[in-house]
Symmetry: C2
Subunit: 202 residues, 2 copies
C-alpha cells in the first residue's frame, strides 16, 4: 500500500480551491489516497511572518487576475467572492467533526464549502451556510453547528494547525507525499511526474 | 508581425535562470521575438515591500530545495552558488551596453552570465568575470568594463528598472505579451497555451 498524499489547504485560498477540484482525480491516476487537512494560514503566518497574497503591492492585483485566469485554464468555474478573505475556522471545524463521523463525507463537505465560497459567493464562515451544505449529506443542522464548536473540535483544529507548522507547511495548497513537499496548484504536474515516473535526483 | 514577449529577470533569480534557458525556444515555437530586460529586484522590492524568497521562514528552505528540483525537472544543469544572492547591477549594465553594440550578443551574454552563476558558481557581480565572458564574444575586456560603468549606462539601468515598475513587474521571471502578464517559470506552459490556442476569457 503506497502512502497517501497529504493535502493542506485554507478555505480562503483560491489556489487551494483549484487544487481541491483536481486532487482526487490525480490521486486515482497515481494510485494514492488523499488525506485532506483544512488549516488556517492566518495562524501559520503568525509563525512564518507570511502575508496574504492579495495584500502585496502589484502581486496582489496580479493574483486576483491570476485566480480567475488559472481557473479558466483548468476549466473550473470561479466567481470571485465579494468578501475576501474571510475567517474560515468554522468551516475547518465542521470538516474535522464530520471526519469523525464519515471521512468520505468530510471530503465532500470540504469541496462543497470551497464551491460555495468560490463559485456561489456564500459566506462559508457562517454556520447557517455550513449546516445547509451538511444537511444535503444527511446531517442535522443544529447537531453539526453545536458539535463543531465543542472544546474538543476547537482543540483538534489547533492541534492540526500545529502539526502542519511542525511539517513546515507555509502556504495553500501544500502537498506532502513520501516526505516530499510540493507547494501550489501549479506544482500538481510536477508532483504527478514525481509519482508516476519515479523521484528524480536533485 | 506579432508583438514580442517582454522577459524581465534578475540575475540573482534561480527561476529567472530556468526561464532564460527555455524562453527563446518557446519564442520560436510560438513565433514571437523575445525582448530580454535585466532588472534589479532589490530596487523593485523597495517600492513593493517584497522580499527575497530565501529570506522567508519555511518558504526559504523550500525554495532552495525547489530551485534544484525544478532545474532537474526541466533538465537544466544547476549548481547552487555558494554566495547567494549577490549584487548584479554590473551584469545588468554590461548587458545593456552590449545591447547597443549587438542585441543578439546581449542575449548570449545574459544567458552565459546566468550559467556562470548558477552552473559554474562564478561571481557575476565582478567585472573580471563579466569581461571574461564578453571576451569570448569578441569584446575587449577593458572596454566593456569601462563602458558598462559610464554615467549613460548607469542612467539607462535606472530607467529600465523604473519602466519595469511602471509596468508593475514585481518578480523574476516576469513576462508581458500583448499586455498580458505571466509571473514565474511555472507559468511558461500557461503562456504558451495562451499564445498558441488563443487568449481565453476570464
Amino acid at each position: 500500500m503506497k502512502s497517501p498524499i497529504d493535502f493542506y489547504f485554507d478555505f480562503s485560498s483560491p489556489y487551494g480551491y483549484l487544487a481541491a477540484e483536481q486532487i482526487e482525480t490525480l490521486g486515482m491516476r497515481v494510485g494514492r489516497e488523499i488525506n485532506w487537512h483544512p488549516i488556517l494560514l492566518g495562524a501559520i503566518f503568525k509563525v512564518t511572518g507570511g502575508q496574504p497574497l492579495t495584500s502585496h503591492a502589484f502581486k496582489g492585483d496580479y493574483s486576483l487576475m491570476d485566480f480567475k485566469r488559472s481557473a479558466a485554464y483548468y476549466g473550473i468555474p470561479y466567481n470571485p467572492p465579494k468578501t475576501f478573505p474571510i475567517a474560515t475556522q468554522n468551516s475547518c471545524r465542521a470538516v474535522l467533526w464530520m471526519h469523525q463521523k464519515n471521512p468520505a463525507h468530510a471530503k465532500t463537505l470540504a469541496l462543497e464549502l470551497y464551491r460555495a465560497f468560490f463559485r456561489d459567493d456564500r459566506d462559508i464562515g457562517k454556520f447557517d451556510v455550513i449546516a445547509d451544505l451538511a444537511s444535503t449529506l444527511g446531517y442535522d443542522e443544529s447537531e453539526i453547528t453545536a458539535a463543531s464548536q465543542s472544546d474538543e473540535i476547537k482543540a483538534q483544529l489547533k492541534t492540526e494547525v500545529e502539526a502542519a507548522i511542525a511539517k513546515k507547511v507555509f502556504g495553500s495548497p501544500y502537498f506532502i507525499v513520501d516526505g516530499e513537499p510540493f507547494w501550489g496548484a501549479d506544482r500538481l504536474p510536477m508532483m504527478e511526474k514525481w509519482l508516476t515516473e519515479g523521484a528524480w535526483k536533485y
